[in-house]
């Protein structure tokens, strides 16, 4: 039976500069009783927004959220939530933090205290009742976050990347403790919905993984994880699943995106030239031919969320090619890796002009001006018709970084103008 259901959920944010951004588009899925579902997606896919819409903290623009068949208006009555930052109140002790939700329910003090103490014991924080969050380590703080969410005995537990702020060992420890509570039915929770950007974490914990695409966020694919608990991360089947999901996440969108006429609409990944160059060099040392993206991430000891924008940038410039989860270095990429500083700049310049329309557009504008200068504000306003204000600033910052490196144009911090490099030589 479905506990939570979303129907054609679409969320559009109105930005202050009168643009609208579609964060989530047409999300329909159900969370069944007894199910542990992970929602997986790159940053900017609207994962957190989806979770907040289900919690009833955000009202959807279109579509609806149902709890046991009833429309959710205001905060969803069947849920509780664990936050990425734990979101404990620093002025309350561990016990008081855990008790807070029970207070809101109007439980008498005695009952409240008993329940809170029991939950604190269960989550492994016995003896820390009167400590303040400041005195606890990150992992213990998140345990309090779990206790606070679980003590109100929610039907559905929502978790917003609860392990991502912790170090590897602490996170693993907490994951296993949570899983133990869940599989052994030590808590009355009927379903769990986890937001994460870690594929391994999703495959390790969940019964079903929903993969989100971004710009706008929509469901790309759902994958059932049929492996029995406790799962072995080195197991062949486990690795195959992880690999497959990597492929789906990194690959071309399964649903073709609507074609947009504007040329500069593809956002530039937020990666500086230094990171791209470093990545290509590392990659050319690591591999000879084709390689798994998953393997690359592992070899570089990087999280996929961190490495993904770099891969995107490298692919945008055609240094590499990724098809279905494999990376191949292109001819240019290989030459680039071997080249010296000046040659690198030349190659980068050539690829930039070929593959990044926005850079071409900047150059066209500068060339058409008699003094070859243009206030950066002009480009930001241009970008703001397509992106949010902060994203427009990010975009121009990246464009300037890339253009500067390629010596195509330069930027004057004082006058806030972008100008052509020749200008410097002439004047």
């Amino acid at each position: 039976m479905a506990i939570i259901e979303t129907k054609n959920l679409t969320i559009i944010f109105d930005m202050p500069n009168n643009t609208r951004i579609t964060v989530l588009e047409d999300i329909s899925f159900t969370l069944e009783e007894g199910e542990f579902v992970a929602i997986l997606g790159p940053s900017g896919a609207g994962k957190s927004t989806l979770l907040r819409a289900i919690a009833g903290l955000i009202t959807p623009t279109h579509g609806e959220v149902l709890y046991r068949g009833k429309l959710v208006e205001g905060v969803n009555p069947g849920i509780s939530m664990v936050f990425q930052s734990a979101a404990l109140f620093p002025w309350l002790t561990v016990l008081e933090n855990v008790e807070l939700g029970l207070k809101a329910k109007g439980l008498p003090p005695k009952e409240r205290r008993e329940k809170a103490i029991k939950m604190i014991d269960l989550i492994g924080l016995d003896g820390f009742e009167s400590a303040y969050p400041k005195e606890l380590s990150g992992g213990m703080r998140q345990r309090v976050g779990f206790a606070r969410a679980l003590v109100v005995e929610p039907e559905v537990l929502l978790m917003d990347e609860p392990f991502s702020g912790l170090d590897i060992l602490t996170a693993e420890n907490l994951r296993n403790d949570l899983l133990d509570l869940w599989i052994e039915h030590k808590i009355p929770t009927k379903s769990i919905l986890l937001i994460t950007h870690s594929i391994e974490e999703a495959v390790y914990l969940a019964d079903r993984v929903i993969i989100l695409d971004r710009n706008p966020g929509r469901i790309k694919q759902e994958i059932y994880i049929d492996l029995p608990h406790w799962r072995d991360r080195d197991d062949e089947a486990f690795l195959r699943l992880v690999d497959r999901i990597y492929g789906i996440m990194m690959g071309k969108p399964l649903v073709p995106k609507t074609v947009r006429p504007e040329r500069y609409v593809t956002p530039l990944p937020h990666v500086r030239v230094g990171a791209i160059a470093g990545f290509i060099e590392l990659l050319s040392d690591l591999v000879d031919t084709k390689v798994d993206i998953y393997k690359v991430a592992e070899d570089l000891q990087m999280d996929v969320a961190d490495i993904q924008p770099v891969i995107e940038a490298a692919e945008l410039l055609k240094f590499i090619d990724t098809t279905g989860g494999d990376i191949t270095i292109t001819e240019e990429g290989r030459i680039f890796a071997e080249a010296d500083v000046l040659e690198k700049k030349q190659i980068f310049k050539k690829l930039l002009l070929e593959h990044v329309p926005f850079i071409q557009q900047i150059l066209q504008v500068l060339n058409s001006k008699s003094n070859h200068r243009m206030p950066v504000e002009f480009f930001i306003e241009l970008l703001e018709t397509k992106f949010s204000e902060s994203e427009a600033h990010n975009q121009i910052e990246i464009a300037i970084d890339w253009g500067r490196y390629a010596e195509l144009f330069a930027y004057d911090e004082d006058s806030k103008e972008i100008y052509l490099e020749e200008e410097v030589v002439e004047s």
């Binding site: 849920i79 109140f89 002025w91 207070k103 809101a104």
Partner: protein, 565 residues
């Protein structure tokens, strides 16, 4: 109930606890007996005695007034800040109103407040007493309200969401989330506000309005009377008592409060230097203080259960918006009517008067600029010197705090005594008072700015051989500029306010005055000339606002954008 309640036999009453109990009893007795005095005393013009023996009683009365004014400010600022941060449609209106009220000098409130309250309480001293408390309140409340509003509208999103997910009622959210989050800012601003209250104490305890002469027994009127009579001994002793009170209150109230407020810090990292207070540590060790704390908590909880579990807004919406509309219309009508009446009063002012007001405005502007310029001139090098020597700043900061809390108005008559015979003596004295009253804001901020210069930047500038002027231009000025501007905004506002008490003074039986907007305000209040009072107040508000908007704010943005560290 294993965990919190202390079994009866374990209660130990220590010396500290006895101290707390006696303190409470004495306080209650003091308040009750003072209130009896209000009823018994006949008129408002009470004879103030300059005898030293009356000083303790006067001091007590002044402390009580400050206490009630502060309590009023506390309630008002929390209410105002809460409403302004929760009501999106009222927010812009309430905030600009606060901005304007902040720049109204205390004395401009005086006629309205006093006449209104005397009309309400025509018998005994009650009306004037309340008036004095309200006047002190008008000098304290605005920055506190700003602080509460600022905190409550910047509550971290996580906290807000957690409170909503766990279905806290609005009242529970206020008690467990919003109020705690606002506490630190509120404590610091309370300290500043109460210091401001002492600054204007003299003006708030003794004033004339038309033919009526109002005098309330208190330390402020004692000091003022001593100044009028030219009694230096009384002046010095009164000043000594005032400083003693301020230092004691600092140690007994503010230090413990600040130490306690550390609990509400949101940053989870441990701080390098945590404020300490011996009194606070003592209180923590006592048996009674935590019991009182627990009782307060229980009380909150009991109240919070009285409140509806959930506010159901949707069905009532129609009704709510209708009553709200009616309320807003009534408010708007009152405002329009008030503006209309004010317009008539101001319209009746002859043209030459207006010219006079504008010229006075220029004179005061000149004095204020001079005072602030002079303050910057000395506080910049000294502040930077202190701030860049960590050892020195740990010694100097508490000292500076004590200096800053001495109200300059109390020293003013003493200064005047020397300067009055000089040509332009009052003008110099007026600038000096502005300087004394406002330089501390600058010094505090510059020390803080200099302390925040990263060590690497200092090292880098030494390595590159920056010295002398270059070091100032390239490192120090850019680093402290944002803080300097913040301090200067407060200092300028304070200096304008100080002009009201420094340009027009009753001294040694005569009235001294110089040309200036402050003198204009005080003298018109003295005469009961409401037209000129209103007009000059409006001009002062406009001037202060313009200077803030077009000079300091611009400079601030510039500094933030270019030099922010």
């Amino acid at each position: 109930m294993l965990y919190k309640a202390i079994p009866i036999k374990r209660i130990k009453i220590s010396a500290i606890d006895l101290g707390i109990i006696f303190f409470l009893f004495a306080f209650i007795y003091g308040v009750v007996s003072t209130a009896r005095g209000w009823r018994e005393s006949p008129g408002y013009a009470i004879n103030i005695s300059l005898s030293f023996f009356s000083l303790p009683y006067y001091a007590w009365l002044s402390i009580l007034r400050q206490f009630f004014a502060y309590m009023l400010s506390l309630v008002f600022s929390i209410t105002y800040g809460y409403i302004a941060s929760h009501n999106k449609s009222l927010e812009p209106f309430m905030i600009s109103l606060l901005d304007i009220l902040q720049s109204v000098p205390v004395l401009s409130f005086m006629p309205g407040v006093i006449l209104g309250l005397i009309a309400l309480f025509p018998y005994g001293r009650v009306g004037v007493e309340l008036g004095s408390v309200v006047l002190i309140f008008t000098g304290q409340v605005w920055n506190m309200a700003f602080s509460v509003y600022g905190s409550m509208s910047t509550i971290p999103r996580d906290f807000d969401e957690a409170a909503n997910v766990f279905n806290l009622t609005p009242f529970q959210k206020f008690i467990y989330v919003e109020l705690p989050y606002s506490t630190i800012g509120l404590v610091w601003n309370s300290m500043m506000s109460v210091a401001g209250g002492w600054f204007f104490l003299m003006a708030c305890e003794m004033f004339t309005l038309g033919e009526k002469d109002f005098r309330l027994p208190g330390l402020g009127s004692y000091l003022q009377l001593a100044a009028i009579k030219g009694d230096i001994r009384a002046l010095l002793v009164g000043l000594g008592v005032m400083i003693a009170i301020i230092v004691i209150i600092d140690q007994l109230v503010w230090r413990p409060l600040i130490a306690w407020a550390q609990k509400f810090k949101v940053e989870l990292s441990s701080e390098e230097s945590v404020p300490h207070s011996a009194i606070f540590t003592l209180l923590q060790r006592s048996t009674i203080a935590p019991l009182i704390g627990g009782a307060v908590e229980d009380f909150w909880e009991r109240i919070s259960r009285r409140f509806p579990k959930k506010v159901s807004i949707s069905p009532k919406k129609g009704l709510l918006s209708i009553t709200r509309r009616i309320l807003i219309s009534i408010l708007a009508l009152i405002v329009v009517y008030g503006c209309f009446r004010l317009g008539i009063i101001v319209y009746k002012i002859p043209a030459f008067r207006w010219g006079d007001i504008f010229i006075s405005d220029l004179f005061t502007l000149l004095r204020v600029s001079f005072a602030v310029g002079l303050s910057i001139l000395w506080t910049l090098p000294v502040g930077v010197f202190i701030g860049m020597n960590p050892r020195l700043s740990t010694v100097m900061q508490p000292l500076v705090q004590i200096f800053a809390s001495i109200p300059a108005t109390a020293i003013f008559p003493i200064i005047l005594m020397w300067l009055v015979s000089l040509r332009g003596g009052l003008s110099i004295a007026s600038i000096l008072l502005m300087l004394l009253g406002t330089q501390w804001y600058l010094l505090f901020n510059i020390i803080a700015g200099a302390m925040s210069i990263p060590a690497e930047l200092k090292e880098a500038s030494s390595i590159f051989g920056l010295s002398g002027i270059d070091r100032w231009r390239k490192l120090i000025i850019p680093a402290v500029l944002p803080q300097l501007v913040t301090g200067a905004i407060t200092a300028t506002g304070g200096a304008w306010n100080a002009s009201v008490v420094s340009e027009y003074v009753h001294f040694r039986g005569t009235t001294l005055s110089v040309k200036g907007l402050g003198a204009m305000i005080s003298s018109s209040a003295d005469r009961g000339d409401f037209g000129v009072l209103a007009a000059s107040t409006i001009i002062m508000i406009i001037t202060v606002t313009i200077i803030n908007r077009f000079f300091w704010r611009r400079l601030y943005w510039l500094a933030e954008e270019h030099y922010s560290l």
